[in-house]
Subunit: 190 residues, 2 copies
């Protein structure tokens, strides 16, 4: 997706060979026009599929997932990383290790909002080692629902999550797939 | 806003005289069409103001704030409740007590995304005691920016936050203002 790749080149900050900071339009400040375009691009790529629910994880997945849900006319569910007093039981849950934050989060989704007849697309901001995506897939499986595929805003293709999950048969559509962050430069796969 | 009030009556769950659960369209599952309408309603109510930035707090504020940002053509910034390794310094921050979760969160916004010439609207899902809103106002003030006003999806008007802040001169536009949750029923102010 050219618009997204251009934005990454213009505003992304390469902090190391593995860390790309895109706080100006995705992870802290949000560019609503770009997120709308991202949501529409996901819808285009999955236009051959019937999708009944969009699943993402708080917080950076919410904006692109919501724009996708708007196009599809489908509800969006965001997995929670922490439990609140008003969301305490009746949960699907899985454990997700975050390399960025160096901690394990238990993520959860209310059983009220995923059911066995759902056809689910999973949306996330980044795919690197695939930990979050695996956790979300596990939650969909706990519900007995079908994973149609995943939509990723930025994949770090030089890490192993995407390859592993594709080999297991998961369809993954990444709108920008990074080949390398070496020498402070962002290089994409074609 | 009739569409929102109808949705609250249909799907909101009154858990006690002070707790309303709206997980089916705002706090866990998101109704994208409703959130778009909410964003547009905020834009209409503040159409007399120049706004350069939309500020909210993760996670439930993100969807309505992003739709407002889309209408305004303005970036959206969501305050973070926890620090990540890629967002470590150069922060405005304030402490916010959550009655729902019974804990204090330090919320923060990067200094890169709020500046003294910004005219800021603050968006949040709920207003009850006003703790989150006060914390967000403090952050805007740290930046030396101007708070145009606040846009609240659901105000619990029987609690004191909204009244206190209006008495201090803050403009608050609430799209649904709840008078009472007594006897398991949601009653709105006119």
């Amino acid at each position: 997706m050219k618009l997204l790749k251009d934005k990454i080149q213009q505003e992304g900050k390469v902090l190391s060979d593995v860390v790309l900071k895109v706080d100006s339009f995705l992870n802290h400040q949000i560019d609503p026009m770009l997120m709308q375009a991202v949501g529409e691009e996901f819808a285009n790529r999955y236009s051959d599929e019937i999708i009944t629910k969009v699943l993402t994880i708080e917080s950076s997945g919410i904006a692109p997932a919501t724009f996708l849900g708007l196009v599809l006319g489908a509800p969006v569910v965001f997995a929670r990383k922490r439990k609140s007093l008003t969301l305490t039981d009746n949960l699907y849950s899985s454990k997700v290790y975050s390399f960025t934050k160096n901690e394990v989060n238990e993520i959860s989704v209310s059983k009220n909002f995923l059911s066995a007849d759902d056809r689910v697309i999973i949306i996330d901001d980044f795919l690197a080692n695939g930990e979050a995506l695996k956790g979300l897939i596990e939650i969909v499986q706990q519900a007995g629902a079908h994973v149609v595929g995943a939509g990723i805003v930025i994949e770090k293709g030089f890490q192993q999550g995407g390859q592993q999950l594709r080999e297991q048969g998961l369809r993954i559509e990444s709108l920008a797939n990074i080949k390398s962050l070496a020498n402070g430069k962002v290089e994409f796969f074609d």
